[in-house]
Amino acid sequence: MTGISGKGLCFAVSNIKRLIQLWGISAKLDLLWFLRDTKYCLMTMFADVVASLSSFVGVFLLAERFGNIGGMNRDQILFMLGYASIVNGVITMCFSMNNVAWISRPVGRGQMDHKLIQPVPLWMQLLTEGFIPISGSSFLLCGIGITCYATGRLGLAPGLLWILLFIVLIICSVAIILGCSYIASSLAFYAPVAAEEISTTVIALFNDLMIFPLGGLSAVLRMALCTVVPIGLAAWLPANFLLGQSGVAQVGVVQADATHVGAIQVGAPQAGATQPDLRGVIILIMTIAVAMLAATSFRKGMKYYVKRGSTRYHDRGHRS
């Protein structure tokens, strides 16, 4: 028993070591690009900041004008937008190189062959080769800035546990977006031409809709947007859960009425709640479900790929 667990530990340690090595080389490639083409790299980063801000400025202006959208006030919306930017930032920083997040592209273009000839398990490649910590950092920094500002305006006093919860929820949201991208991208194994850009559509769907507060929608629609098409889990529900916002309890939980959030004991159920806050559980269960479905469909697709082979090959976007 000890032998088995010792072996398992060794395996885990060696995997972690490999992951760090591979993240390291990806980071080095990115750093070298920054050092060589600093001007262009900074221009790209600046463009990302502009894109990040402009993507949610409309929602923020609406909140500014009306003071409250979907049960969230201006500062809560700002917090949610900051959260959404961090989620986008993590995807950009960790999964954008080599189209890792847009996996239907390499699948549809027959580029998975390049991955199969590397002596690295596929999951490890997908986890590491998209890492661009410098050129891909602007979205994330922007999101962190906005979240900190919103947190201050909301009068929140985040403790360590809250920050940990925040990180876990960010990971869940990232996993949900990537999971949905991978589920859809699995179609590219079977229809490489038709589904080559399907991941772009899925990620764009999340980017466009995740910034809207869903509190004003009907319970059925909100339920659908948190389960069937889990856009609500990308920012709205986790942000509300973090804020202890109760206006979204209809997602599956009934909580006491509260129309505004002032200085809140974050992470804990709001005072006066009649039922436990299950939003965190919903997010976790949905994350696991989406991740499992994505892993299963993608693995099945890969089996099909190595059985049938790819009927087309394009080098576009490969290692560039």
């Binding site: 090595q21 490639l29 690009w33 062959d113 002596p119 049938r308 490969h318």
Partner: protein, 351 residues
């Protein structure tokens, strides 16, 4: 399908072993006609194509094998199966004692693959950066990396290219860089799919010399596919010819020549114009007189070229006949080009 070598026993020095391997692909047949719309939706017509049909092949360590065949014969499919990119429909595949399907990660550390029209280089980085990336991903020990880098830089003349972006390289330079990168982890076995495609004479020569050298000096097993038979003959000791997914020939290039008869070519150069017709007529007369024949391939004002079968008329007899002719100043004897022999075989197999 003659001269097929089949060895069923795998030994320790076996690099590659294919046993009764078949690979089938399904192709959807679409007519594009309105009347077939419903059928295309519900039950589209399928066509099964056999890319490999019960192929058995054994390659020993240290061999340099040319793997050739007409378009669609199954060459690339075999390379993909051997490198774990594709799985066979049936049969057993062993590469360096491992199953490419089950031990992909471990196997990739020991083999190298280059596809002629694809690159493993990072497009927007100098090739030295791609090499460093390879060192990390393949987890190459520092000493091995240093030694291999020195070797490939010298032999492939990469010194000036190491700091050049991959996107700025010519095709020949890129192929050299790709080949160098593939060799950095010192693979025991390498698969090259059309490595000389599109290369100019000089780049091709550099690549051929390099491959021959690593095969000879390091004992690296090499399996190379190409359509260029002259290149293959220069590089490899053994040729495996595929036809319609089956091994149609497995042996040496000399044995391959025997398949179409032992054809030889002789080129005669005359002194002065107007002698050609005379020589041609006289030679035909002489050969006919002894019940032999030679085929005239080409003729111009001061030379002509014949092809003859050495099984029918020996080179000595041929030279004896030619010695009786006047006005000949030079004679050149060559084996028939391998391209011609293979083309003849392809036509024969197709028919």
């Amino acid at each position: 399908m003659s001269n097929v070598v089949r060895q069923d026993i795998m030994t320790a020095d076996t690099a590659v072993n294919l046993e009764d391997v078949s690979k089938e692909f399904t192709q959807w047949q679409r007519s594009g006609k309105f009347k077939d719309l419903l059928r295309n939706l519900v039950k589209p017509e399928k066509k099964v194509v056999k890319a490999l049909d019960h192929v058995s092949l054994k390659v020993n360590q240290g061999e340099f094998v040319a793997y050739a065949g007409a378009n669609g014969a199954g060459k690339s499919t075999t390379i993909k199966i051997l490198s774990g990119i594709l799985q066979p429909t049936s049969g057993a595949v062993t590469v360096l004692g491992m199953s490419p399907e089950k031990s992909r990660v471990e196997l990739m550390r020991r083999i190298g693959v280059v596809f002629g029209q694809r690159t493993e280089l990072w497009w927007d980085h100098p090739i030295s950066v791609s090499f460093e990336w390879k060192k990390t991903v393949w987890n190459i020990p520092r000493e091995v990396y240093r030694r291999q880098l020195e070797m490939v830089t010298e032999l492939l003349d990469l010194g000036d290219l190491l700091n050049t972006f991959a996107r700025e390289l010519s095709l020949g330079q890129r192929m050299r860089a790709d080949l160098a990168m593939m060799l950095l982890h010192n693979p025991e076995l390498i698969f090259l799919d059309e490595p000389t495609l599109g290369l100019d004479v000089l780049a091709k020569r550099q690549m051929i010399n390099f491959l021959k050298r690593i095969n000879r000096e390091q004992g690296t097993t090499i399996i190379v596919t190409s359509h260029d038979m002259d290149d293959l003959e220069e590089m490899a000791q053994r040729i495996v010819l595929l036809s319609r997914g089956q091994i149609a020939f497995d042996g040496s290039f000399d044995e391959l020549r025997q398949l179409t008869g032992s054809l030889c070519r002789i080129r005669l150069v005359f002194q002065g114009a107007g002698i050609g017709e005379n020589v041609h007529g006289r030679l035909a007369e002489l050969l006919n007189g002894s019940g032999k024949s030679a085929r005239l391939l080409a003729a111009n004002h001061n030379s002509c070229e014949y092809e003859f079968d050495t099984a029918e008329i020996s080179v000595k007899d041929m030279l004896g006949q030619i010695a009786q002719l006047d006005g000949i100043v030079d004679i050149e004897i060559n084996k028939a080009p391998i391209e011609q022999i293979v083309a003849e075989l392809y036509t024969r197999w197709r028919g």
